[in-house]
Amino acid sequence: MNIVVCVKQVPDTATERKLRSDDKTLDREAADGVINELDEYAVEEALTIKEAHGGEVTVLTMGPEKASESIRKALAMGADKAVHLSDEALHGSDALSTSYALAQVLKKIGFDIVLLGSESTDARTGMLAAMLSERLGVPQVTLANKVEIDGSSLKAQRLTDYGFDRVEASLPAVVSVVEKINEPRYPSFKGIMAAKKKPVEKLAVADAEIDAAKVGLAGASTEVVDFADAPPREKGQIVKDEGDGGVKVAEFLASKKFI
C-alpha cells in the first residue's frame, strides 16, 4: 500500500502569529513552526494502516526550507520517506493553487491513499481534501474518525453534526481525518535518530511540472485585501451578588442577546 500523508508546517498556536505588512501573507519566520496538529493524527493513521496492511508511508509537504523540521518529526514518528516541495514561486499560494501544486506532486509519485488533516490551524480553509480529490479524480472521504482498509476499498466513519455517516469508497482515495480517529504516538529516540537517515526528496515547481504562473501570489485567485489586529479582550464585568446576582447575570446575557 502506497500511503501519502500531507503535512503542513504551521506557526505554533501557543506563540503570537502575525501577517506580514508587505504582502499580507503569514509571517512564517516570526513564529516557531510546528506540525499542523491534525496532521499528526493523519500520520498516526497512515502508520496504523501500514502496520496492518504493509506498504510505505510518504510524507508530502509544501512549504519553505524551515518546514523540513516538521517533515523530520513525521519521519521520527515512523514514516518511511518524504517529498518536500519548496520553491520561492509558491510563496503566497492560496487554497486553490496549493491543491494544484500538491496534486501535481501526487500524480508524479503515485498513491493508493492520501491522508490529510481536516484543517490547518493557520489558514483553516478545510478545503484541501475536497480540492485534491477533484483534481486527482478520486473519491473524497472527509472528517473521518474511523478508517478500515478492505482490499481495494475503504470503509470509514465521517463525523457529522448529527452523529456519523458510514461511507465506503474505492481506492485510490483522499481521506481527511479528525482528532477523534486515534492518539498520535510520540516519536521515540530510535525514531528520531533513524529520521536523520531517511530520504527526503526536494522538489522545485519545475520538477513536478507545476506551472509557476498558476501558483504563488501571482497565481492566487483570492487576495487578502486588508487585515487588522484582533481587538484586545475587554475587561470582564464582575457581578457582585447582593441577593439579586441571578437577575443581574440574566440581564447581562439578555443585553448581549445570548438569552
Partner: protein
C-alpha cells in the same frame, strides 16, 4: 571542544519529552500524588515512547541512545513531576543498568527487552536499615552457596520500584564471604522474598519505595551478576553514573520552579501591581534561573566526560551537589513567591518543595559528594 548547544537529535528528544510531560503528566499527576498511587498508565506510556530503553542498544530492545539522552528525558520529566522522573531513573540506571553493564549475555537477553519496553521494572537493593552511606559497614544481608543455589537472608531499606505490580526483579548486594560483597538477581515472587508495605514519604509520593526482606530465599547460582566479590565496585560505578542522572532530575525540578514562578508573578497582584514588578521578586526569580542554569552546565560537563570514556567521578559528585542544592533553594524560593498557595498540595510548587529534600540524600548524600570531591583534591580519607 567548547559547546553546550544540544545536538539536533537530543533537542528533538527534549522537545518530545517536554510535550509529553506538559500534556500527559502535568494534568493528572497531582491526583496520583495525593492518593500516593503509582501512576501505571503514565509509566506505560513512557515505556511506549521508549524512555526506559534510552541508553541501551537496539539488540536488547533499547533505543540505541546514551546516558545523556536519559538525563535529558529525566530533566524534562522532573520539570513537571519528580515521582515519574525517579521511577524512570531507578528503572533504568539502577534497575536495568547493572544487568547491562555486568550481566552475562544470557541475563541480558532474558531481562533487558522487558525492562527496556517499560512494561516491567527492576530495582536496585543496596541500602540496608543499618546504613546507606557506609554500605560495607552496615551490610547484614548474606548469601551463601548451597547445592548450586544462593540462599539469601537479610533486609534492604528504601528500595525504589521494588513492589509495583510490574516489578520483576531486584538486584541485591549481599555478603558472600567475609568482607566480600556480590550482586545477585532475585526475581519477584521468589519464595521468602517479600516487599513490605509502601513507606509513607514526605515527597515522591507517586513513586514506589519499600523495605525488602529475604528469608532463606533460594535463587540459582547463575543469578550472580558480574564477578563474585566485585559487588561493591559494581555498585559504585552504577552510583557514579546515577549521580549525573539525579543531577539532571534536580535541574528539572529547579527549572520547574522557575517555570511556575514566571507564570505566577505576572498574574498575582499586590498593592496594585503584579508581584513580578517588584525587584525583590525579580531578583529571586533571577537567582533561581541562575541556579538552574549553572547546575545544568555541571551535569552536561559530567555527562560529556562520561560519554568520552574519561574519569568523571569528581564531576558527577559536583553536578549532584550543585544541582540538589539548586533544587532545594529554588523550591524554597518558589513556595515563598507563591505565598500561602505554595503550601497547598494542589500547586506544583508545593509538590516541588516536598520532592526536593530527598535529592540531597538519595544516591549519596551531599556529605558523601563533598567527601568524594575532597578525595579527588588529594585530601586524606580519615
Amino acid at each position: 571542544m567548547i559547546g553546550f548547544t544540544l545536538d539536533e537529535e537530543y533537542e528533538a528528544l527534549r522537545r518530545t519529552v517536554e510535550t509529553f510531560a506538559r500534556d500527559e503528566v502535568a494534568p493528572v499527576i497531582g491526583d496520583y500524588y495525593e492518593r500516593e498511587a503509582f501512576p501505571y498508565e503514565i509509566v506505560a506510556r513512557m515505556g511506549k515512547m521508549g524512555l526506559f530503553g534510552l541508553p541501551f542498544p537496539e539488540e536488547y530492545g533499547g533505543m540505541g541512545g546514551d546516558y545523556f539522552a536519559l538525563c535529558i528525558a529525566l530533566e524534562e520529566l522532573a520539570r513537571v513531576d519528580s515521582s515519574v522522573a525517579i521511577t524512570l531513573e531507578a528503572g533504568v540506571s539502577l534497575g536495568a543498568m547493572p544487568i547491562f553493564r555486568f550481566g552475562t549475555e544470557e541475563q541480558k537477553r532474558e531481562w533487558l527487552p522487558r525492562l527496556c519496553s517499560g512494561e516491567r521494572l527492576a530495582a536496585f537493593g543496596l541500602t540496608e536499615p543499618g546504613g546507606g552511606t557506609d554500605v560495607p559497614g552496615g551490610m547484614r544481608t548474606t548469601a551463601r552457596l548451597e547445592d548450586g543455589h544462593w540462599v539469601i537472608n537479610g533486609s534492604k531499606a528504601f528500595i525504589t520500584n521494588a513492589g509495583t505490580d510490574v516489578t520483576v526483579a531486584v538486584t541485591v548486594a549481599a555478603l558472600t564471604g567475609d568482607g566480600e560483597i556480590s550482586t545477585i538477581l532475585v526475581p519477584s515472587g521468589t519464595p521468602g522474598f517479600t516487599a513490605g508495605k509502601k513507606y509513607s514519604k514526605v515527597g515522591w509520593s507517586a513513586s514506589d519505595t519499600r523495605e525488602l526482606s529475604f528469608d532463606d530465599v533460594r535463587v540459582p547460582e547463575a543469578n550472580l551478576v558480574g564477578e563474585r566479590g566485585r559487588g561493591y565496585a559494581q555498585f559504585l560505578r552504577i552510583l557514579d553514573e546515577g549521580r549525573i542522572a539525579i543531577a539532571a532530575l534536580s535541574v528539572g525540578l529547579a527549572q520547574g520552579c522557575v517555570d511556575e514562578c514566571l507564570r505566577y508573578v505576572r498574574e498575582r497582584a499586590a498593592f496594585g501591581r503584579a508581584i513580578g514588578e517588584y525587584q525583590a521578586i525579580q531578583f529571586k526569580v533571577a537567582d533561581m534561573e541562575t541556579r538552574a542554569h549553572t547546575a545544568r552546565l555541571a551535569y552536561y560537563a559530567a555527562a560529556a566526560k562520561m560519554l568520552a570514556g574519561e574519569p568523571f567521578k569528581k564531576e558527577a559528585a559536583i553536578a549532584k551537589l550543585v544541582a540538589s542544592n539548586a533544587a532545594m533553594d529554588n523550591a524554597r524560593d518558589a513556595t515563598q513567591i507563591f505565598g500561602g498557595y505554595g503550601f497547598m498540595n494542589e500547586y506544583p510548587v508545593g509538590r516541588f518543595y516536598r520532592d526536593a529534600k530527598i535529592l540531597e540524600v538519595g544516591e549519596g548524600t551531599s556529605e558523601v559528594q563533598r567527601m568524594l570531591i575532597a578525595r579527588h583534591l588529594g585530601l586524606p580519607a580519615r
